[in-house]
Symmetry: D2
Subunit: 336 residues, 4 copies
């Protein structure tokens, strides 16, 4: 029997780091987690007059739900997390500029003497039935509907080396990768660094552009269902994602070319391994067949994704086929 | 009457810089150019034993066809180049690693003390009728067909400020942007820096992955037809591309986040201008609706593209509708 | 009466993170700490045949001594740490290449497909009386004496936002900045993030070049004496250093220009504040009078230092003159 | 007999590129050139009300004196340029912020949506007899004297590969490296790319800080004397500098770590060659003995210098001792 755990955290149960936290629950591999995740502002930005710099308090930003201890996950294993569904929990969502945050502004890292851009909030209508979010200009009356494409910006496990990292930072343990590829239907893979893996999830977006250039997506609380599983003895150096049609590697670093290098390096060596190719042969194949969807260019590390269509990989199967098994389990769960 | 110029350069007519060259022909706006472009190796790499480092001689790499003086193009104007068709000129194409070139190797810029990766050549079959190129592993017998998706890596005009730049370098004048978005059906826009603009074209790829990670695409000589036109009094700070469905800005720089910043900044301010939005409103719209297809992460400057679907822009028309006019002219030309 | 605490950690008392650790001792402001710090290899690389990749075990690298809870230090205060003396604890020291670590090699971040550089160990003679370390080539018989200039690569406090960071990473809390400016006679300033500050110290170098280009300095265990003090109500955004003649700001980030920007931004705004200058006037002054000694270009973040000679600052006094007071206390301590 | 050429360019003789220009004079190796160089503003910024954005016209910025064709210099040789003296030509000098230029502002490359910093001009008194320049705050009455330390920001030869580059851009041919190491008493080495080398010189600074953080130094017209010579058959991949006590390599690139890598890579391999060391042995020596004075962090490419004291190099002699010979020739010239 599939176990199902429903968990809606109280505000004081939210976590702000990966690592350094006790698990909120212990679950077995194969468990379906029905989770509520708060938005990156902790739900405090609810209208255009709610400036995040006023209503939010550092470091209580970008809360995650979890962590969950998955029984049997040990360092050297891989945690597989299949995203069954990601559904906006409200009929509105928000996006904002934030002082010295975003790609087209000086930041605390790319430090300049210029004043910050104005802090502005945009409120979106979320119409899940129609599958759209509605953008409204703040100055002038321009509106336009954009496709709803829900995703999670932040997902990951406890880091290695006794570290605890702010949820806003993406790195080898996952974290705030902010890639739209983390949508329903995919399986995400994380290398396990500590017993139980300690998976946590947050930062839902109704959608985001490539790079999240202003610093935020269409931020929303989410009702999200995932199935967690453990692939024993399989190492995963950086988070990977598998969809029905593609394999993806991620890299998170600065400068952006290093994020690109990490993700492409992983996809090349993973492809060589899966298809049985020489490394340079895999380098060539990925060079011509690979895609590189941009994740974020605004967080403490930038994120790039390297993607290759499975049809170019000669029927190779990753992680012993766990994606297909979880896909089937998700179907069974939905039909129950 | 549409004027048509067919031009197949002799080897000694090929150019290796943008700028610093006399035009090979003078043409009027609206002229259809039927061009032959040689591949980036000058056609000298014809089999897996032809190492580019042996058969090619620096700086005679990445030749371009042109430059063409377009009558009436003056600094401050924009040159519009509509790509009618891009067809591989041979039934084979090549790709190679090249010593200290590519994204997953030390380079002359990202200088390391490690020896270069092995120089290897891959020969592709090009089947234009079937619309595929065939990859063959060099070690082992793995083969796979990839979709043919012809494009030009290199296109541009003479730079500003009396400069002449190697064709391998992308910058504000265009050059070796190596983006797969430069395919048939699009119109490319270049800011004019010198009288006549001095447009040139080369470096055809049967296809390439995002970032051209190994340093080369599926390199091929091309028979390419373009129509050139001039938009008077319209400035274009960085090359832009328009397809039937999208507007795109490019940026070429290092580090890669600066290429991203340039392209996104241009798309945001262009969007604000076209739609009549406040700059921050346009920043928000592009943040949620924008895409960022990676160009190259291997050339002397890296290239990013910022793209937004026209359907989110409220019917805005760029450059006085020149794309639609050239699209129509292309149709008329093909039917003649 | 000055309190003096002598502390020589047992191997199992060493720390490998800033944050996430209980203090080893609690001390009062003004306490003299006589500390032993182990080298970055935990003392396990003792000869040219001791390869760090073999004798050391991740993540037990770069141990620090501490942390020390300094009574009265609260978030918003500044911890002042005056370096009285830094003395090599042995008559030998080591330096090594390490696979995929250093500035002239591909790394796990600047990922390449090239094999790692050979792992080589250099053993240095340390002659404290003569004030030199002796370099010996491993291949060939070239030797040369270099001036002894002891420093600590790693010093810092617990990070903000509930983080725990590997000691090898420099950031706003300090950490592995690897700047030769952290030598005897200076006072280092760290912003306090948690009650007690939780100061720790390690990674002594007999000397290092600018950037620590091969990835390690002349690594040595040290007997080091510091005096700790608290400046109440004074914020310090990034670690700063004061010598008898200069003020310095640090920045640690990637790419290296961001480390430069952070350090220069802090020095400019600090100068404006101390001298009473308009920000742009301070920008100009630092632009012409400032120096930028490179820290490291090999760690997970790169470090730059921005330095300005006090004689250009019109007699300004930083942090209420704590450097001079601690300088005097150090003299008294040495004469006791 | 030493030949002496005095050359004071007329305004219309100034050059704005390296490459793409006919030589203004042809000289023999060993010739003493007594040159006048205009400041980077073409002498048009003469007071605090002369905003460069108003009184200067792109691309007529950063003029250089030359180019000079040095007889016998052929591709593959090295041009040696000994700086005999650099003397401010006026008793004033200027520095400015410039819109979207400098390290602590968004730029055209690090593109942001923030408005530019205010454009401000600082006028310096130059007291050559006292050896100082006088800084004056624009707001408030703070003044301070800084040591006069004259240097040239821009020096170089025609680039390879038929290129012509704006004088503002530093690269392998030299150009606007903006390093204070290019002062009187040193010999600069440039790889020759075209017959005659085509050396040019400009952009004098009375002094500058490390990185030229605001974008300009203390800009001044200069009366500068150099002696040019040719080292046959000696390749120089990137500009190098030799002083009486040190050898230096430069690198110019983005991001800044690549400028560091280039300069350190060149110094390591040069050291290995000069001292007869294994490459990794030289890597180790430079890692501990090397310095890395920052050049510029504001120009189209950033510049780093790698420096090692000659006393650590076992008496090695670079370029057949040309520095010592030119040093002696300079002495003879001054005594004539």
């Amino acid at each position: 029997m599939t176990e199902i755990l429903r968990y809606h955290p109280e505000p004081d149960e939210l976590a702000y780091t990966f690592g350094g936290r006790e698990p909120v629950r212990r679950v077995k591999p194969g468990t379906v987690l029905e989770l509520y995740t708060e938005d990156c502002f902790g739900g405090r930005v609810r209208g255009v007059d709610d400036l995040a710099s006023v209503v939010c308090e550092f470091p209580y930003l970008n809360p995650v739900t979890g962590p969950f201890h998955v029984d049997g996950a040990e360092p050297g294993d891989t945690l597989a997390v299949h995203f069954v569904s990601i559904e906006p929990a409200r009929d509105w969502a928000v996006s904002t500029t934030f002082p010295h945050f975003g790609a087209l502004t000086g930041t605390h890292t790319t430090a300049t003497l210029q004043p910050a851009l104005e802090e502005v909030v945009w409120l979106y209508d979320v119409d899940s039935a129609a599958g759209v979010v509605r953008y409204r200009a703040r100055r002038g009356d321009y509106t336009v509907d954009l496709p709803l494409d829900p995703m999670h910006g932040t997902a990951g496990v406890a880091p290695a080396a006794f570290e605890a990292r702010m949820t806003i930072t993406p790195d080898a343990h996952g974290g705030n990768m902010d890639t739209p590829e983390l949508r329903a239907g995919v399986t995400a893979y994380f290398g396990v660094n500590v017993p139980g893996a300690l998976f946590a999830l947050g930062d839902g977006h109704c959608r985001q552009g490539h790079g999240e250039v202003c610093g935020t997506g269409v931020e929303a609380a989410m009702n999200t269902t995932v199935i967690v599983d453990v692939v024993k003895g399989a190492a995963t150096p950086w988070p990977r994602i598998e969809s029905d049609t593609a394999l993806m590697s991620t890299g998170s670093a600065r400068p952006l070319e290093d994020a690109y290098r990490i993700s492409q390096h992983d996809l090349v060596t993973w492809t060589a391994d899966l298809v049985g190719l020489d490394t340079l042969d895999a380098y060539q194949l990925v060079s011509q067949a690979g895609e590189a969807p941009v994740g974020n260019v605004c967080d403490p590390n930038y994120t790039m994704v390297a993607r290759v269509d499975k049809r170019y990989l000669g029927g190779a199967t990753a992680y012993e086929g766990v994606h297909d098994r979880l896909r089937a389990a998700a179907t069974a769960y939905r039909r129950r």
